[in-house]
């Protein structure tokens, strides 16, 4: 991974996701901070990424790097975490029964992924499908259903649904611009995930500053002693 990618490209991508992830445009413009549930989901997603080696944190921070490089790596990790939280914030309705349903859905999916997916490419594929599907439900289906320009049948359907759930199925529709920005945000997020230093990359990052000579990232594994084997 190049210095430019680590110091500029990845923070810029993930911080842009953080900025746009909370943007809601309706009659007014709001910037919605992530809920506690989004933070938990973000932690699980970062765990999934590490487990599947979609991100190799030791390439961003390790004892062999100078402090400045470790700071740069820390910024990438923090920005990644914040971006993950904002992606879940973006895709989850803000309140009511739908918030609960979407949150539980994400939680179960992430736990399943954490337990089952071990490789980078399958994880990224699974994430694209998960985020894409929820984007369709949230910004195409629900927005169309709750749009102020919806027809009588749609209004009747939403009224019946709200009645059945005793008013728990509240949803606030947004302007179409929110959907387009959400699409851009998710695309940026996926690009950012692809650009992360993965466990599949050669450890070329660990070059001695100035000399270009590779250096060990950590001490070599200790040879097992005979006594240890016993």
């Amino acid at each position: 991974m190049t210095v430019v990618r680590e110091a500029f490209v990845l923070p810029a991508i993930f911080l842009t996701v953080v900025l746009l992830g909370g943007l809601r445009i309706a009659e007014d413009v709001r910037l919605v901070a992530p809920s506690l549930m989004a933070l938990v989901q973000a932690m699980l997603l970062v765990g999934c990424l590490m487990r599947a080696r979609a991100i190799a944190p030791e390439q961003l921070m390790n004892a062999g790097r100078p402090a400045l490089e470790n700071c740069s790596g820390l910024v990438v990790l923090l920005a990644l975490f914040a971006a993950c939280a904002q992606v879940f914030n973006l895709l989850t309705p803000e309140s009511g029964l739908l918030f609960l349903l979407f949150s539980v859905f994400f939680l179960v999916q992430l736990l399943t992924t954490l337990a089952a997916v071990r490789d980078r490419v399958p994880l990224l594929q699974a994430l694209v499908i998960l985020l894409g599907s929820v984007f369709l439900i949230r910004f195409v289906a629900l927005e169309a259903l709750y749009s102020p320009e919806a027809g009588t049948l749609k209004r009747l359907l939403t009224a019946v649904m709200e009645g059945v759930t005793l008013g728990g199925l509240e949803y606030r529709a947004h302007a179409p611009a929110t959907g387009y920005l959400a699409f851009l945000t998710l695309a940026l997020f996926v690009v950012g995930l692809v650009l992360l230093p993965s466990g599949e990359e050669p450890r070329a990052l660990a070059l001695e500053s100035g000399t270009g000579q590779p250096r060990p990232l950590a001490a070599p594994p200790r040879q097992l002693e005979e006594a240890d084997r016993d």
Binding site: V4, V18, L31, S72, V75
Partner: protein, 162 residues
């Protein structure tokens, strides 16, 4: 050299995001005005403010609010917001009953004015005004939208608009 630059860029970008989420600007004017106010460079449009004041004194409140909004497009000036809140009060005031909607908007605006004022203290020295502080205006607006037994006091009909 690239890494310090990258760190500075990331920190500045993150700070901007945190500020945006805290300030919740509604348009570009509010965003740029807020940033300018952050460095002490924000100025209202004085001509538009004078126009607004002239409309306000002639009880043309809609026109006054339009001019005040033009004067303080970023909604960062406490005095202008005070006058906007006052215009809601005067327009909404009635001898028999007040307009709750206008009073609520006035309350929101005076709260903003108090938040913008240094240490929350706002005094406007204008002989045309019955209430010269934001605290008085806020209390009057709050009383106007509160329903209680004192609403039935016939002596209230003798009270005038401030």
């Amino acid at each position: 050299m690239l890494r310090p630059l990258g760190l500075a860029f990331a920190c500045a970008y993150a700070a901007l995001i945190v500020w945006l989420y805290a300030a919740q600007p509604q348009n570009v004017a509010e965003m740029t005005g807020g940033l300018a106010a952050g460095v002490g460079a924000y100025r209202i449009n004085q001509q538009a403010f004078e126009d607004g004041l002239a409309f306000f004194r002639k009880d043309q409140f809609e026109e006054a609010r339009a001019a005040f909004a033009r004067a303080d497009s970023a909604r960062r000036d406490a005095r202008t917001q005070f006058y906007i809140a006052y215009s809601y009060y005067r327009q909404g005031w009635g001898r028999f009953y007040n307009d709750d909607e206008l009073f609520k908007k006035g309350l929101e605006t005076v709260d903003l004015a108090i938040a913008l004022a240094p240490e929350g203290r706002l005094v406007v020295d204008d002989s045309n005004l019955g209430m010269k502080t934001a605290d008085e205006l806020r209390a009057e607006l709050q009383r106007g939208i509160t329903r209680d037994a004192s609403d039935l006091n016939p002596l209230r009909l003798l009270e005038g608009r401030k």
